[in-house]
Amino acid sequence: MTANNSSLPTGRPRVLFEKVWEEHVVAEDPGSPALLYVDLHLVHEVTSPQAFAGLRARALRVRRPDKTIATVDHSIPTHDRSLPITDALAAKQIAQLEDNCREFGIPLYDGTSDRQGIVHVIGPEQGLTQPGMTIVCGDSHTATHGAFGALAFGVGTTEVEHVLATQCLLQRKPKTCSVRIEGLMPPGVSSKDIILALIAKMGVGGGTGHVFEYTGSAIRGLSMEARMTICNMSIEAGARAGLIAPDDMTFEYLAGRPFAPRGAAWDAALARWRRLPSDEGATHDKQVTLNASALEPMITYGTNPGMGMPVTGHVPDPASLPDPGQRRALEKALAYMSLTPGQALLGKPIDVVFIGSCTNGRITDLRQAAQVLRGRKVAPGVRVLVVPGSHRVKAQAEAEHLDAVFKDAGCEWREPGCSMCIAMNGDHLLPGQYAVSTSNRNFEGRQGPGGRTFLASPLTAAAAAVTGVVADVRTLADTQVRPYEA
């Protein structure tokens, strides 16, 4: 790594996060939070209506509609888009976003646009997400965009209003935590397993107050989409943002995308981006390490993403936890999941498989699931939804005939959206049902009231689809499970 200290007056080595942060501080009064400039504001239908109402109430305009982009993802049905939206509340929310974007001049990828998709899928695929940028959205999975070396984090609706009105946010500088992941992932293990293992190790509050920087040989070997899966779930460890230093993989991914710079602007951007990686000697406030080569496919057993274990593991015993708050939480989780301490999950019958979301709804995720499903049938009685993260992902999958693989196996091939990850759009579990899901949250009721979620990778989800039970993809006959960059 080359040190970049020479360009700095102080010569103090800085980490990636500090470089992005300092570039974006507009002002900082003593004792007050910094005024941080936002390069890109992503907007969706669920967390924006009250912010636009606030603007209207104060007769304010959107300061930079040209740094704002909106789409519909949470509430939108994933059935045939030519059909009307039957949920009156969802229809109203979507219509309101359309009205707001029209009134305030914000570009919108609506339900009929071929650029529509989950906001954290379309930002990167359109080339809007670029290294060194600050990106916010009223959505905690904004952390996804950190895979490009952008400082990207979720904000509440009041802050959405602040950004719409001023393009700025008041922020205290968070601490940083380096997450070093070394080693080569064994066959059957993917980036989803890395992040589930990390959250199981750190707990869902382990990253609170910190911004992660993922480093190490395992991260360097990952594709951009796999990196996005990891950064996406930083918030599930409590970290608002998770960054990865940009490298040639990043630049190759970005080159030629619709909003990526071109010509001389590309060369200038590249020179700028190459200065972003943490300087030699720069330090983080905290360090965590994980050995990727020792990982197995992961699965969650409880009701938060930190309650995870190798798919071959056994459900832990609340009695083994010394802390009463943790004990109560695990007892309640196991009661909700109807699981007993010591129970193995392998072989546990499941009802639904969901493949999609901003965590695992990209083309490499679909390729992995298709690899397992190709030539196989979904187990009797199991419902499998495959929901591409965007129209672009859907078109690519169809160009590769992956849709045929899914449909031949007996899966439902749907239109893009958040779908059963958050169950706001009509796609949901029934009370008591078990799902293996490639999404990011297994909270009680997350995928529908009374629904029970096992979080896992696309490979593990596909293995459950064809066996009808929680399964270890490595043991499926005739499946060549190879190590993935994904």
């Binding site: 002002a27 009250q50 109203k92 509440g156 802050e159 602040h162 609170t208 938060n304 309640k332 706001m424």
Partner: protein, 202 residues
């Protein structure tokens, strides 16, 4: 302008589990609203009501002492999960003015502060002490003094709590941050003149 945050004395409801997430505080199906108001009725909906919408008598918010309670005592890492500001809107809508815990998730804490809902961080000992008091006396009251940054427990013991000074002053004066941001208009304009656009969506 918001209502300035004044010292108050109120009853406490305990939900002492760790990692209570925002999907529990306000389940996603209630996020289809386009208003802030009216979410208090859906606070903790899946714990509070059965599948037919009837209140579950064993859930703490349905007990008589919950009516009029102004403080929620929760376990560690309260408000983890999503960025939905509907969570503090629902808590405030129910009538809570403060949540006491040993820690809060970052986004929830920010959102709460912007809605006059005070996230009070105490250490494990104060947390246990308050929980014990409530076990003995469910009607016990605490006093929250934001200016002094103190929480007076039942029995009179006072513990101090940390809070961001800027957020405290905004709450005490009932000032919202947007006004502060607007005062920096010329600095924002100067920044935009100096730094080229990273990307343009139009």
């Amino acid at each position: 302008m918001m209502e300035p945050f004044r010292t108050f004395t109120g009853r406490v409801i305990a939900l002492p589990m760790d990692n209570i997430d925002t999907d529990q505080i306000i389940p996603a199906r209630f996020l289809k609203t386009t208003d802030k108001a009216g979410l208090g009725a859906s606070l903790f909906a899946d714990w509070r009501y059965d599948a037919d919408g009837r209140p579950r008598p064993d859930f703490v918010l349905n007990r008589p002492e919950a009516q009029g309670a102004q403080v929620l005592l929760a376990g560690d890492n309260f408000g983890c999960g999503s960025s939905r500001e509907h969570a503090p809107w629902a808590l405030a809508g129910f009538g809570f003015r403060a949540v006491v815990s040993t820690s809060f998730a970052d986004i929830f804490r920010n959102n709460a502060l912007k809605n006059g809902l005070l996230p009070i961080i105490v250490d494990g000992e104060a947390h246990r002490r308050l929980l014990d008091s409530l076990a003995r006396e469910p009607q016990a009251e605490v006093t929250v003094d934001l200016a002094a940054q103190t929480l007076k427990l039942p029995g009179g013991v006072e513990v101090s709590f940390p809070i961001d000074g800027f957020a405290r002053d905004c709450l005490l004066e009932g000032v919202d941050e947007l006004g502060y941001l607007f005062q920096r208009h010329s600095q924002i304009a100067a920044y935009e003149a100096r730094v080229p656009d990273a990307v343009r969506t139009l």
